[in-house]
């Protein structure tokens, strides 16, 4: 057990308090009007230990807001504690940080820093914190100094704390406290023993999931069975149906037998007739052979005319083609003749030109101008000798020139004459060819009328041939055909025989009535069989329904089995809760805790409600809240084995507080005390 006792607390320049030293007793009463600094004492205490105020705000509003000129100085809180009668002096100093940057004369505000002292020795934050922790763990400070703190926590955190206090509850504790008519908990023991699941909640969740799946499965049976039932045909008198079917079948068989017997007898009697009929058939076949032979002869004849027409037509066509070919050729030859003649005329004109040219050259005379005989360089008259020489020379030249030019013309004309002769030869041969072609054309043309006549004749013939009725012709020819006539006679004879024998058989029985009856019976049978087949459908469907019902029951049983496990878990949890509640509530003098809620659906849910005289903490009045809070705090102190100074704010509204082992510091609002009044006992 550790006792933490606050001896003194001194505040310097902390929040609104400039300088205050408080000496505490086992029970201390601090009175003051509003804004006289009562809450500041509380803040200072928490800040000293944690660096935060009672609302967990770090270094919050420590500085003076009214007299800001004081804020450049240090803000200090120093507390002297007796921890199991050993003194521990803690001091926390909060400073503004002013620095003079290089080259500037003015200091500049850089933020804050904190200094820590333990027993007047400056230490680092880490060391300071370690010393505080050694005295009391930071998680317990509020729990053990503020009576309202526990009840302000989230219920789940409260619950955890209480379960912690109650200590471990073993399965054996729980099982011994349980008894149930519904189950012996063997399954749950097994599950808990197996360690297969993280915890019971985990197991419960798995069961829940499985159950949800099964429930979903179970929902399908109703619609499925309904559907099967809808498909059920009406139940009929199956035995009666079977009897009816049997009777009708028997009757049908009778009729069939009757028909079979009759046709068998008939067959016997008809054997001879059949043989005769076969013979008739054979002879008819032969007759048909003769007929088709005659017919094909006639048809062949008709087909011959057609090919003759075609060949004459061919001849006419080729003759016509020959005529037009010859005409074409003659025309082209005529054109060639024209061309030859034009060429000859052109050549004649050329020759005529040559002739005239020659005559012109030939008529030229040599002329000599003796005066004209001058030196070409000095323009003097040449000497006579020279003139004669020159004259002779020039004459020679002249005559040579004439001769050669005349020869030229002669040569040209000769070439033209040669060409002309060639053309004339061509002309001649062309004219000969034209003449020949003309003859040919004439001959060919002369063939045309004869051929046309021939074609007309043949066509006439053919027309006559096709207009014959082949069938009639065949009949005529058949009537003249000896073989055919013989066959016909034979067939006639045979037919007479057949008729005689058939007449001997008498009128054939048709069994119309029986056949009609059989048809009706078969229709009725189909209907009856269809009805009977419903029996199988019903049996199948009923089997299906039975199977589905079986599955339905099995699924329901599976769900029930899971529910049994859930029931065990719930009973277990409830027993555990009962034990827990009892153990927890045994630790408190005034309050009791409700740790689970009974739910409408029969389940239980975790909760944590602190009650005083069955009234939940939240709705208690101020005095009762403090009483309850102190009761809880005292129990927690005992559990954690630490008694720490307890601050009771608004103590003026409470007349009675329970005895507790911790040091109590009560804050009273008293309007008369404008400055704080401290009374330590």
């Amino acid at each position: 057990m550790k006792t933490i006792y606050l001896q003194t607390l001194s505040l310097r320049n902390f929040k609104g308090i400039t300088d205050l030293l408080i000496q505490f007793g086992q029970s201390t009463k601090i009175s003051g009007a509003n804004e006289s600094g009562k809450s500041t004492i509380l803040s200072a205490f928490f800040w000293l230990l944690t660096g935060k105020d009672e609302f967990d705000r770090k270094d919050y509003e420590i500085k003076n807001t009214l007299r800001k000129e004081l804020n450049a100085q240090s803000h200090e809180v120093e507390g002297v504690f007796l921890v199991n009668n050993r003194e521990l002096k803690l001091k926390r100093v909060y400073m503004e940080d002013w620095q003079k940057p290089k080259g500037q004369s003015q200091k500049v505000f850089k933020g804050h820093y904190t200094e820590y002292y333990v027993n007047d020795v400056p230490v680092s934050l880490t060391e300071y914190q370690a010393d505080v922790d050694a005295m009391i763990s930071p998680s317990l400070i509020k729990l053990l100094t503020n009576p309202h703190y526990f009840n302000s926590l989230d219920w789940k955190d409260q619950r955890r704390g209480l379960v912690d206090i109650a200590g471990e509850i073993t399965n054996e504790d729980i099982f011994t406290s349980m008894n149930s008519k519904v189950t012996d908990f063997s399954h749950l023991r097994e599950v808990l023993g197996s360690g297969k699941y993280k915890d019971l909640d985990d197991y419960k969740k798995q069961l829940g999931a499985k159950k949800a799946g099964l429930k979903k499965d179970s929902e399908q049976y109703l619609p499925r069975i309904d559907e099967a039932k809808r498909g059920l045909p009406d139940v009929l008198d199956w035995d009666d149906l079977a009897k009816q079917i049997k009777a009708k079948k028997a009757r049908v068989e009778d009729i069939d037998q009757q028909l079979a017997d009759y046709s068998k007898g008939l067959q016997e009697k008809q054997k001879g007739i059949t043989a005769l009929n076969n013979e008739i058939f054979l002879k008819n076949t032969l007759l048909d052979g003769i007929r088709s032979k005659i017919k094909s002869g006639l048809l062949e004849n008709q087909n011959g005319k057609t090919s003759e027409i075609a060949s004459v037509q061919n001849q006419i066509d080729s003759n016509n083609r020959e005529v037009s070919r010859l005409e074409k050729e003659i025309t082209s030859k005529d054109e060639m003749v024209e061309r030859c003649k034009t060429e000859i005329e052109r050549l004649d004109m050329l020759i005529q030109g040559n002739r005239e040219q020659w005559e012109k050259i030939n008529a030229e005379k040599f002329v000599f101008d003796e005066n004209g005989c001058v030196c070409p360089s000095c323009k003097q008259q040449l000497p006579v000798d020279d003139v004669v020489k020159t004259k002779a020379g020039l004459l020679k030249n002249f005559n040579e020139g004439v001769a050669s030019r005349k020869a030229d013309e002669v040569r040209k004309s000769d070439r033209s004459k040669e060409q002309k002769a060639q053309e004339e030869k061509t002309l001649q041969s062309l004219e000969q060819a034209i003449e020949d072609l003309g003859t040919q054309l004439k001959v060919t043309k002369e063939k045309v009328p004869a051929l046309a006549q021939q074609l007309a004749d043949i066509k006439e013939l053919a027309k006559n041939a096709s207009s014959i009725d082949i069938e009639a012709a065949v009949t005529v020819l058949m009537d003249k055909n000896g073989d055919a006539l013989n066959l016909l006679d034979e067939i006639e004879e045979l037919r007479k025989l057949v008729k005689i024998q058939t007449d001997a058989l008498g009128e054939p029985v048709t069994f119309e009535k029986e056949k009609a009856e059989k048809a009706t019976l078969n229709e009725e049978l189909d209907e009856l069989k269809e009805k009977l087949s419903r029996k199988a459908t019903i049996e199948k469907t009923e089997l299906r329904i039975a199977q589905l019902k079986k599955e339905e029951s099995a699924t329901a049983q599976e769900i029930a089995t899971i529910e049994q496990k859930e029931f065990e878990i719930e009973a277990y949890n409830r027993a555990k809760m009962d034990i827990l509640e009892k153990r927890v509530n045994d630790r408190f003098r005034y309050v009791s805790f409700r740790l689970f809620d009974q739910q409408v659906n029969g389940g239980i849910a975790d909760t944590c409600v602190c009650e005083y005289k069955d009234v939940p903490y939240k709705t208690l009045n101020t005095a009762a809240k403090l009483l309850a809070g102190l009761d809880v705090l005292n129990t927690l102190s005992q559990h954690y084995e630490i008694y720490a100074p307890v601050f009771c704010d608004n103590r003026e509204s409470v007349t009675f507080i329970p005895e507790i082992n911790s040091q109590i510091i009560s804050l009273f609002v008293s309007p008369a005390d404008t400055t704080l009044r401290v009374e330590a006992a």
Binding site: Y221, L222, D226, A556, A560, F567
Partner: protein, 240 residues
């Protein structure tokens, strides 16, 4: 055989006749979960009979049917509960006998404000058992019964004394059996073979359990118990 009472008042009625291998659930007017608990979560070999359609007798009928448990009841009861087409709903008619496993059940009509049955139940273990509820009187006598489960809902004197509103009072009087009628019924029958008399459906506000039990015991000299949820008693032809 064992009789288990799951619920027995206007909030909900359900009773189990639990044999060695099979169980008859009489009424299902409580949460199905409660029925399953009483069955120790075993649905095998369970059948159910229902007297009429009111919620305190047939609340869980759909759940019971869907769990594959056959329910036997009147056609009007099924129609009113909207389960007349359910594949596990078995219609039974007054005056006929039905074999349900080893139980033989014979429904008869009684006087309630809706069509309602009483039951004569026979089983080799419990013999012939009369089950009668929600009727203001019964005009039959039953020879050779071994056990009686009967409504003893209210006492007119108590009702007059406690200010039950008129309309409710009228309804109760016309549809439930009071102590005097119950006594009259017991007096009219030959009880020489009866083992247990179980009083059911006692009204919360208009009855006095201890007095009813005492008066009936004084009248009959039998083992008389008042049914309450959780009650379980041996239920055989004889006490031995």
């Amino acid at each position: 055989m064992e009789l288990r009472v799951i619920g027995s008042n206007s909030a909900g009625n359900a009773y189990l006749l639990k044999g060695e291998t099979e169980t008859l659930l009489i009424e299902c007017g409580v949460q199905f979960r409660k029925i399953k608990e009483a069955l120790q979560f075993n649905l095998q070999g369970v059948s159910c009979i229902v007297t009429h359609c009111h919620g305190d007798h047939a609340k869980a009928i759909k759940d019971v049917l869907n769990a594959g448990v056959p329910v036997y009841g009147g056609v009007d009861t099924f129609k009113a509960c909207d389960v007349d087409r359910h594949h596990n709903a078995m219609v039974i008619r007054a005056g006929l006998s039905y074999q349900i496993g080893e139980f033989k059940v014979r429904p008869f009509s009684v006087n309630h404000d809706v069509p309602c049955f009483g039951f004569l139940i026979h089983h080799p273990e419990c013999g012939l058992t009369l089950f009668l509820t929600d009727t203001y009187y019964c005009d039959y006598v039953f020879p050779g019964i071994n056990n009686i489960i009967v409504e003893c809902n209210h006492d007119e004197l108590i009702m007059e004394g406690n200010g039950t509103p008129g309309f409710l009072r009228d309804r109760i009087v016309q549809s439930h059996m009071n102590l005097e009628t119950c006594k009259g019924l017991l007096a009219a029958n030959d009880l020489s073979t009866v083992n247990n008399i179980v009083l059911i459906h006692l009204s919360d506000s208009n009855s006095d359990e201890r007095r009813f039990v005492r008066e009936i015991r004084d009248l009959t000299g039998k083992n008389v118990v008042a049914a309450s949820a959780g009650l379980s008693i041996p239920f055989n032809k004889t006490a031995i």
